[in-house]
Subunit: 143 residues, 2 copies
DNA sequence: CATTAACGATTACCAAAGGTAACTATTAAG
DNA sequence: CTTAATAGTTACCTTTGGTAATCGTTAATG
């Protein structure tokens, strides 16, 4: 696996650039998409839920959620615990999520063209495995 | 390959965080390592060489190279074309490169633990192939 | 050969995505 | 009832990317 990191990071920039091109056409940026993705698939969530899932500090999520509220893509629903801020997608959030979901799925098929199902499967499982390994190494500041 | 992007980006944050932990112990950050890596492996290079390789704008490279010069890890060598700035690693740059190289190789082995050689190979080739696909899709603003 | 093009590098900005520290409310524990 | 812990926010910093405009220098062209 000589040079895996290099190839990985070389891919990252160009991949996130493509993704942002796609999202910006719908008024979104990557960090907003991440939050919408989580809320769509996990249901109404607190900021701490999202923060834990992505291993990102709370203020970062606060900022992103605020921008999504201003854009009208998420809204707050009441909670028994009045400290919590539970958010969910609005109708317009659902709509833009659906549009982007399709485009992203299409992009994913496009960029993996030429790879067999077997190769795709191995690659996906390897990426997940590598992440697990890093988490288990420990010493990561955000466990 | 449903969810490849998600897994890929989930890995990225944690991977670059590990890498920066490692580099910061030697006074480097990721962007500096990238430049040193290129200069080490391609030999003395201009800023445009580096910019083209990483598909990153020139001012970004200017800034990184300046920080490396201040740190004493790279220096300029004269060129016939007086527009160009050709840089190479200094002795201290070579030393720190060597130290980090070993640690990064070790980290790479560690995080890919549990993957067979076959799986590692397929994964590396897939990542490279995906990058090629994206570049060939065209429309990338930085071709 | 003189003028114009192109090129390499830089400066001065801006944006996105991450981080810390310190704070306010609110709830849970003792 | 007082103290802890928790959820969220605010203010600010860092890293890594981008643009636009500019300066020197080289290459092209009339």
């Amino acid at each position: 696996m000589q040079g895996f990191f290099r190839s990985y990071f070389l891919l990252h920039r160009i991949l996130i650039s493509k993704l942002n091109d796609l999202l910006s056409a719908h008024g979104l940026i990557y960090s907003q998409w991440m939050v919408m993705y989580y809320v769509k698939n996990q249901g109404p969530s607190t900021l701490v839920d999202i923060s834990n899932y992505y291993n990102v500090r709370k203020p970062v999520i606060t900022r992103t959620v605020q921008s999504l509220e201003e854009a009208g893509f998420v809204c707050q629903i009441p909670s028994r615990d009045r400290r919590e801020k539970i958010i969910q997608l609005t109708a317009s959030g659902e709509a833009v999520y659906g549009e982007c979901r399709q485009l992203i799925d299409a992009l994913e098929r496009e960029v993996t063209r030429g790879l067999s199902d077997e190769e795709k499967d191995v690659t996906l499982r390897s990426v997940i495995k590598i992440r697990e390994n890093i988490i288990n190494i420990g010493g990561n500041k955000h466990a």
